[in-house]
Structure formats: C-alpha cells, structure tokens
C-alpha cells in the first residue's frame, strides 16, 4: 500500500528533550503514522477507491497533578515546539486531580507475534479490489438484483511512545476488515442483512463466505412481522451476545469503574450469574485483532481472568484507575492515537464455551426470539437497557417461524446475566481474538404490537 519510512523516534525525542528541561512532573509523547487503503461499495457495486496517510504527535504533561494535552498533525520542528508549549501552558492552568498518582515505569515483555502482516503492507489497490469483487460475486450467486453497501479496508500503523518514567516503546500493526450489506426488494417488502469479518491478516477474511452469508441472511428477512408484547426467552447469536459481554467488561474498566460510576462498579467478588460463565481478557494472543505487546501506557499486556464460575474477579485497569484503588495496572490502557486521551478497556474477550449446540438450544425452546443482531449495551451508569431487535426470528416449537420487526427488549443487563440458561459449545471467533458463544437467556420483557 506504499508505506513510507517516516522517522517517528526523532520528533518524539525532540519533544521529550524540550519537556525534560521544563518544570513539570510527568510527561508522555506519542507519534504515530498510518497508511490505509479502502474500496467502498455502494449501490450497484464498487463505487470508490481511496487511500490515506495520517501522521501526528501528541503530548501529555502533568504538573502539580493537573493535565495539559496538545496534539498536532505536523512533525515539523516548529510545530513540535508549539505543541510542547501549548501542553505545558495548559498543564500550568489545570487544577490538581487528587486521584492522579503518576505514570508507570518501564518493564519488559516478550513480543506478541503475528501482529503485522507483510502481505497487507504490500497490498495494492488493484489487489485489494479482488475482495469486494468476490464478496459481491458470492452474493450474486445466491441471488442477483441487490443494492449494496459495504467495502474492504486495509491499514498499517506504527507508533512510538516515550514516557518521562523511562518507558520507550515502538509498535506496528496491520488490520483488515470487510463488510457487505445487500438490500433486496420485493414490492414494499425488504430483505436486508449484513456480514463482516476483520483481523490482522488477509487470511482472516473470507470474501466468498461474507458475500454468501450476507445474501442468505438478507433473503431470510423477507416477510418480517410484528410480534405481540410479552416475556420470552432470547437466544443471542454471537454477534448479539458479544455486545452483552463487551458491555460488562467495559463497565468493569478504568476510571468509571473505579470511581463507582458504572453498573458494574460494585460487582467485585460478586456472582453475576450461573457458574457456567467464565470470561477471560487476553491481549497477548498471537495474531489477534486486539493484541499488543504493551498497552497504551507501555505496560505489558497479560491474560486476565475477569469472570470465573460466574464471579467477577477484577477490574481492567490503566495506571490512573489502578492508582485510585491502590493496585497495579492490569495493562488495559487504551490510547486513542495521538489525540491525547488515555482510557481503559478490554482487549480480546474470550467467553468460555458451554456444552449445548444451537440445534439443542432451539429444540428446547417452545417459543422465543432468536436474536441475530441487537445491541445490549445498557445505560452504563444504571445498567438498564431498552433496545430494538434489529434482526431476529420468532421461534415456535423449536423452529424459525418468521423474522421480526419493530420489537424491543428491555430490562437490566445484570438480569440478563442472572438469567443465562444455556451457553453453546460453538460460537464465533472475531479477528482471531474475541470469542463469543450463543447464549440463551430466560424470560426477557418484549415490547411489540
């Protein structure tokens, strides 16, 4: 894709030299470079080819526990000087944050392999076009006449981080993603769905599978009907169960969790559901989408058991939230590029499979809703949710009766965990990192016609 050899270390070290001469307590400087290409699909097929070069530097300065941040998309000397000056000036105005305890020091970690695919780096736009073409061809083999939305993108990124505590880390990574949403129409009836995949390497993407699945799922959505309000079990496919587990781990992460601002703040040591629930966070899986050797503050990543036999064991910390609770960072700092903000959150989420199959789960469901696509992300403070089942089926007598529309589910997310009845042995691996099984939840309140 035409990656350039841009020196990130020199501008970072220049900023660090300037900062080390100033009256401040801590600083960190990050510079990053990324190159991406994408082929966009819209309407009748491929619409546009695009590429991007992004480059920037961000400086965080702590003085008297106050934080000043500045960033710039220029690595020229005068812009680095101006960026440093703005961050230091702002840190002088910022007021002391009583919870800030400092930035982490250096520690070595074995490199997580397989995070940078040379095939992605050398990919040209001409070669990249093959993937959307194959997705569309596979969809058209199922049925012609769709209008499409989707695309394929590939990116390479490299970042260099220096912290005043002695941390100095450089990392590079590739990422690819593909998505296809076909829309079929029969009069006023619409059959629409989507499929996607993503990962570090081109081998993580199977365009024919995406296109075929997207078309088959879209056609199944014809004839969607409203369902009466009531209480029914939900069977969440991995795409939907993922939002349930991701929400829990996000609510257990960082400052909001440590400061008692999420529905999960009070869950440490408590049971959230049956003993079949085991959730692991592992940012060290080779070749996985959310893996890295170090986190956004240069702390080594490590596997972390978050929920064991239904009981919450830990929060996911960056250095700030760890400082609030007087514990060590768990290596979950997330830095949003050079823009300055450092938060905390999960990496690869692995939910332990159960022992049921989807067929068994369906067979024992007299009446329920099979949820293909819905977000169970609740209000992160209260834990309450009210969500539309974006794509799903009414199940009757263990079989798909018809697709549903205009149907909402509501409740408290912790009740969903409490009411988990079955976890499947099969599931979906996303980006070679996240694993979510199919989950059956007992009675959930539904609003419909």
């Amino acid at each position: 894709m035409g990656v350039e050899e841009i020196d990130l270390a020199a501008p970072v070290e220049k900023a660090a030299r300037l900062l080390s001469q100033m009256d401040i307590d801590f600083y960190d400087v990050v510079a990053s470079y990324s190159r991406s290409i994408s082929i966009n699909i819209l309407g009748r097929g491929i619409k546009e080819a695009s590429s991007r070069v992004d480059l920037g530097i961000g400086v965080r300065v702590f003085r008297n526990k106050g934080l000043g941040v500045a960033y710039s998309q220029s690595l020229e000397d005068r812009d680095i000087e101006a960026t440093v000056k703005r961050a230091v000036g702002f840190a002088r105005v910022a007021q002391p944050d009583p919870y800030f305890k400092g930035l982490p020091g250096p520690s070595k970690a074995p490199e997580v392999p397989g995070l940078c695919d040379s095939e992605v780096i050398s990919l040209t736009l001409e070669e990249a076009t093959r993937i959307p073409k194959e997705m569309i061809s596979a969809a058209e083999e199922v049925r012609v006449g769709a209008m499409y939305f989707g695309g394929f993108s590939a990116s390479y990124s490299r970042a260099y981080l220096t912290v005043s505590t002695g941390v100095s880390v450089e990392a590079e990574k590739t990422a690819v993603s593909a998505y296809l949403q076909p829309v079929y129409r029969e009069g006023d009836d619409v059959g629409s769905s989507y499929e996607f995949d993503y990962g570090i390497s081109l081998s993580n993407i199977n365009p024919c599978w995406i296109g075929k699945r997207a078309a088959e799922k879209a056609i199944e959505q014809f004839g969607s009907r409203k369902v009466e309000s009531g209480s029914l079990p939900l069977i969440l496919m991995p795409e939907a169960s993922g939002s349930l587990f991701s929400s829990l781990l996000s609510a257990l992460s960082g400052e909001p969790a440590a400061k008692g601002r999420t529905f999960a703040s009070g869950l440490l040591g408590k049971h959230i559901g049956p003993e079949t629930i085991d959730v692991m966070d592992d940012g060290t899986i080779p070749g996985a989408i959310a893996s890295s050797t170090y986190d956004g503050e240069g702390v080594p990543k490590r596997p972390l058991k978050v929920v064991e036999r239904g009981r919450v064991l830990t929060f996911l910390h960056n250095s700030y939230s760890a400082g609030i609770m007087n514990v060590e960072s768990t290596g979950h700092a997330i830095r949003g590029g050079y823009g300055g903000y450092v938060g905390a959150g999960p990496s690869n989420i692995r939910v332990k499979p159960g022992d049921s199959t989807l067929d068994e789960i369906l067979a024992e469901t007299r009446r329920g809703i099979l949820v293909l696509n819905a977000s169970f992300t609740p209000n992160m403070v209260s834990g309450e949710f009210s969500t539309t089942i974006d794509e799903g089926f009414l199940i009757e007598g263990g079989e798909k009766k018809h697709p549903v529309k205009n149907l909402m589910a509501g409740g408290h997310i912790l009740n969903l965990f409490k009411n988990i009845e079955l976890i499947s042995k099969e599931g979906r691996l996303f980006g070679k990192g996240h694993f979510f099984p199919i989950v059956k939840i007992g009675e959930v309140k539904l609003s419909g016609k």
Binding site: G45, E48, S51, R52, V53, V190, V381, E384, S386, L446
Partner: protein, 463 residues
C-alpha cells in the same frame, strides 16, 4: 495554499481526470474538562491536511494526506487517480456529478468574542461557576462533569468546475453531565448547548437553564419508574422530536442513500408519505450548530424542504446524488476532515411548527407517554426501522402528565410513524447540537421540532 490547490487541480486534469477536487481542511480546537469542581485537563489540537478526489474513466478515486506540501499532495493526487483506475474494470456505481456554475467566495463567520482572546484561566473560572450550580444542588449529586469545547474550522474547496471557496467557521459547545445516586440506584442528567458562535455563548449561559437543569433531572430520575411496554400514543418534546426527525426521515432523505437503494423512501417523490400536518425542512442557513454557507463541494447552501404537508418533495444532495436523481444540488455534501470524501449530510433538520398548544395536544389522550430529552438514536434506513433513546418520560393519563418514567426508548417504522403524526404544536425549538455519525464520519448537526403527537409507537420498557 490556494495556489497549491489550483495547481493540483490542473495536474489532476492533465493526469486524465474528468473532474478533480482538492480540499484543504484545518481545525484548531480547545477543550477543558471539569469533574467535581476540578478543571483537571485542558487540551488543544490542530488537524490539517488535504483531500483529493477525482473522477477518472467514470470512477471515483480519493486520497488524503496530513502533509500539505506540493510533493505530498501530488502523491495524493496520483494515488487518487491510480485508485480510480484500479476499479475501472469492475462493475459498480458510475461516478458522475451535476454540472453547476462555479462559486468563488470567502466566508468568515464573525463572532462577538473570539475564544483566542480569552485566557485559559478566565475560561476555567467561568466554567467552574457554571458547573458549581449542578454540584451544589443536592447531596444526592454524586458526580458532575462539564466539558467546554471551541473549534475553528477552515475549509478551502477548489475544483475543476472553477469553484474556489473558503469558509472559516467557529463553533462553541458546552456539555454537562450529572450522576445522581441514592443507595444502589444511579441516574444521569445531561444538557448540551452549542452553536456557530464565539465565547459570547459561554458568557450568556445561565447555570439555572443549563447545569442546574441537568442536576435536577438526574436527581428526579432517582424516583422515576420504568415505563409500561407496548404500543402507545406518544407526545414528544422538541428534543425527542428533533431526534425522531433526524433518525426516522432525515437519513432516509440523504441522496446518496437514495440512489444506492439504501432508503425506504427512494422512488416516492410526489407521493403522500406522511400526515398532512408534516412539513420537514433541513436548513443549513439557520444559525444553529449545523450551520454553513458553502458545503464541502463548494455548493452554496439553501434550505431544503423534504416533506411538505405530508408529500415527499425532495432529497438532500451532493453533486453526485443530484446528477443521479435529476435534481439541483443545494449544498448538503460535507466531510469530517481532509481524510474523508464529502458525503450527503443533514444540517439543521426540523419539523415545521403547527398551531396547537401542548395542552391541546395532550388533552384527548386517555393513556399515553410524554417523552422528553434525547440521548441518541439510529436508523436502518434500508428497512426504515428507527430507534430513539430518551432521557425521561411521563405517563399521560386523561390528558395530564402523571407518573415520572426513566430508561425509555422508542422504536418505529418510518413509513408508519410519519402517517401517524396526529397533532403538531406551535412551539418549534432547535436545540439538539451534536455530532451525527454516518459511514465512519462524524459531522456537526442540529435538530428540532415543536411538541407533536405520534400514535402507535412501540415503547420499550420493563413493566
């Protein structure tokens, strides 16, 4: 910069482009974050770069760079041209644009007080004053957050139609969030204010109408109940109404979604798709958060009527969607930054005022739900199914607001809901400044409505 852009456009035509657009983008922004009376972080950022878009052999190519030098922008041009050529052999959407007269203009939106003329210390002092009203309201206020943000965006558009337009737009936004707590029960209240404006917006804020309101709402929600679930007549306030207009119809009227078969209202121009009471307008010329004079293709913006008295009369357009749908472009194409091509976006979208008072709208509802304050929403435009998350609600019983409700969301089908609008108020307010996400791009928008009534809406709830 203008010389560079013009030369790259010339080069683009020489390299074989039938259309070439080069757009410089620069945004300087500052933010201050206050938490529980402490201005703990101040931040500033500068984004800038160039995006190049071409049509070559009937296909689109786009490329961008952060480095606005001749060499780097020329490379971006060549990447855009080779990108377009790389897809020529594959079936897909043909690239074409409406032939329009070129625009040559410079627009600088004036402000009374430039944020740059106010010291960070002074800003912190003022923001803490505003936040204090929320923090000291009640001992049940657990946490208060206030975020101040100012940004000045400079966009220069140069294209091979002869357009050369520069627009400098200052924006100001304050966002307040309050968490209230009683035992294990935690609830939130929000307020947001924003406009194309300078620091005068901050000076004129009344804490009572802003941060204190957020605190009162958070505390009062501690004793609110979950809503009943099912299908009801609902009355929406101007913020929920704005969210409904934006999600239920606004996205469906975006020309790029229409020509690409992603809109439920494609092919329905001239048809009655809503009740007679419904007139929906998107107006970038109004001085609200989504205001601009030229879009990012250099087209001068005009107000767009989408639905007039229930009849679909038009869509929002880019140069491309106007060409494909046989319409005049009226300036609806915008891009988040130089890294993105312009796509069709809403600006300030609203339901036009009717003639009823809120009391008249409520009076013949025996049992329904009054919805107030918007959180966020989304739409599956191809299916016409939308969801709106609401801050708080009340039961309507015998035309009166009774029980206070929380954690309410509504879901509906666009074509049903528009026909079921049965009463429209006279109290239009556009006060939902925020960012709208589409195709990975985030954009400044605003929305509003008067109070209005929709029958047969699904209300999600636990009771």
């Amino acid at each position: 910069m203008r010389d560079l852009l013009e030369k790259i456009v010339e080069m683009g035509l020489r390299e074989g482009a039938s259309f070439c657009e080069v757009r410089y983008f620069e945004e300087r922004s500052n933010s201050i974050s206050v938490e529980n009376g402490v201005a703990r972080a101040l931040s500033s950022g500068i984004l800038r770069g160039v995006g190049v878009r071409v049509i070559v052999d009937g296909r689109w190519g786009f490329s961008s760079t952060n480095i606005p030098t001749w060499e780097s922008v020329l490379r971006a041009l060549r990447d855009a041209v080779s990108g377009a050529r790389s897809i020529v052999a594959y079936a897909g959407e043909e690239a074409k644009i409406a032939e329009v007269k070129p625009s040559i203009d410079t627009v600088i939106h004036d402000v009374k007080i430039s944020p740059e003329d106010v010291s960070p210390e002074e800003k912190v002092k003022r923001i803490l004053e505003i936040e204090r009203a929320a923090r000291t309201f009640s001992d049940r206020v657990k946490d208060t957050f206030l975020v101040y943000g100012d940004a000045v965006t400079r966009v220069v558009v140069c294209n091979s139609l002869g357009t050369l337009v520069e627009e400098v737009t200052p924006r100001m936004r304050l966002y307040c969030r309050v968490i209230a707590r009683e035992g294990d029960n935690m609830q939130e209240g929000y307020e947001s204010i924003g406009n194309v404006a300078g620091y005068e917006l901050v000076e004129n804020i009344s804490a009572e109408d802003f941060s204190l309101k957020a605190a009162k709402r958070a505390v009062s929600l501690l004793h609110a109940n979950p809503p009943p679930r099912g299908t009801y007549s609902v009355v929406v306030d101007p913020r929920v109404g704005g969210l409904f207009v934006h999600e239920a119809i606004g996205h469906n009227s975006e020309g790029d979604l229409v020509f690409s078969g992603q809109s439920i209202i494609a092919g329905k121009v001239g048809q009655k798709i809503a009740s007679d009471l419904v007139t929906i307008i998107d107006d970038p010329t109004r001085i609200n958060y989504g205001h601009f004079t030229y879009d990012h293709e250099g087209t001068r913006a005009k107000p767009h009527t989408i639905i007039r008295n229930g009849v679909l009369v038009g869509f929002l357009h880019s140069l491309e969607s106007a060409a494909k749908l046989g319409a005049e472009p009226e300036g609806s194409a915008r891009a988040q930054s130089h890294h993105y091509p312009p796509i069709v976006r809403m600006s300030n979208t609203y339901l036009a005022a009717g003639d009823m008072t809120l009391e008249e709208i409520l009076e013949d509802i025996d049992y329904g739900i009054y919805l107030s304050g918007s959180q966020y929403g989304y739409v599956e435009s191809q299916k016409g199914q939308f969801t709106c998350k609401v801050e708080e609600a009340w039961l309507i019983e015998g035309g009166e607001l009774t029980e206070h409700l929380r954690d309410v969301a509504i879901s509906g089908l666009t074509l049903e809901a528009l026909k079921n609008i049965s009463a429209v108020g006279r109290d239009l307010r556009i006060e939902m400044p925020g960012m709208c996400g589409k195709s990975g791009q985030s954009m400044y928008v605003d929305a509003g409505a008067p109070h209005f009534r929709i029958d047969g809406i699904v209300v999600g709830g636990r009771k």
